[in-house]
C-alpha cells in the first residue's frame, strides 16, 4: 500500500501569490490533517478534516484554507503569500480523528 503522498515536493513562489498543495491519504484513512513546520520547530497544526468536514482549525490566518474531497484526498490553499509562509507543509492521514498519524514527505514551500 502506498503511504501518504504529497505534491509538489518543492515549490518556489513570489510574495502575494497563491499556492495549492495536495495530499492523498493512505487508503481507508478518513482523516487528513495539515501542519506547518519551520526549521527547528515542531509541526504546527493548521487544519483537520474528517469525512469531508473541517473538524479542527489551528491559529492561522484566513489566508489559509483547505478542503477534503469525496475520495478523502485534500488540498491546502494559501493566498497572498508572505515570506513567513516559507516552511515544510506536512499532511498526515489517520484512520480516525484520535489515532496515530502517518505523515507524507511534505511540500517544501519557499516564498521569495
Amino acid at each position: 500500500d502506498a503511504g501518504v503522498t504529497q505534491s509538489p515536493t518543492h515549490l518556489i513562489k513570489t510574495r502575494g501569490q497563491h499556492v495549492t498543495l495536495r495530499c492523498s491519504p493512505i487508503s481507508g484513512h478518513k482523516s487528513v490533517s495539515w501542519y506547518q513546520q519551520v526549521l527547528g520547530q515542531g509541526p504546527q497544526f493548521i487544519f483537520q478534516y474528517y469525512e469531508k468536514e473541517e473538524r479542527g482549525r489551528g491559529n492561522f490566518p484566513d489566508r489559509f484554507s483547505a478542503r477534503q474531497f469525496p475520495n478523502y484526498s485534500s488540498e491546502l490553499n494559501v493566498n497572498a503569500l508572505l515570506l513567513g509562509d516559507s516552511a515544510l507543509y506536512l499532511c498526515a492521514s489517520s484512520l480516525d480523528m484520535n489515532t496515530e498519524a502517518f505523515f507524507g514527505q511534505g511540500t517544501r514551500l519557499t516564498v521569495v
Binding site: S33, Y35, G40, Q41, G42, P43, Q44, F45, Q48, Y50, R55, G56, G58, N59, L90, A92, M97, N98, T99, E100, A101, F102, F103, G104, Q105, G106
Partner: protein, 111 residues
Amino acid sequence: GQQVMQIPQYQHVQEGEDFTTYCNSSTTLSNIQWYKQRPGGHPVFLIQLVKSGEVKKQKRLTFQFGEAKKNSSLHITATQTTDVGTYFCAGIRSNDYKLSFGAGTTVTVRA
C-alpha cells in the same frame, strides 16, 4: 491555548549511554503520541499512550504517561547512532482532536 513543552531541546549522547527526554502539557490530555523525525525527513509515529500511568516499551525505548495525564517521557538505553534525529511528543486534549506538538528534542550521538 494548549502548550506542549519538551526538554531538553538538544541532547548530545555518547554511544552506549542512556538519556531521557521529557514532555509537559499545560492541560490534561486524552492521549499522547511520540514521533521521530530524521534530518530531512518527515515525522514517523513511534507510539501512543492513552491510560494514566501507562508504560510501554519498544526494544531500547521506554515511554511513560504521567498519572495526571499531563506529562510523558521517553527513555532510550544504550544509545546507538541509529537513534539520531528529533523526537517529538504530541498531545491530544480531551475536548478536541488537535494534535499539538512539542518543539522536539534533537539527539546527536558521539561514536
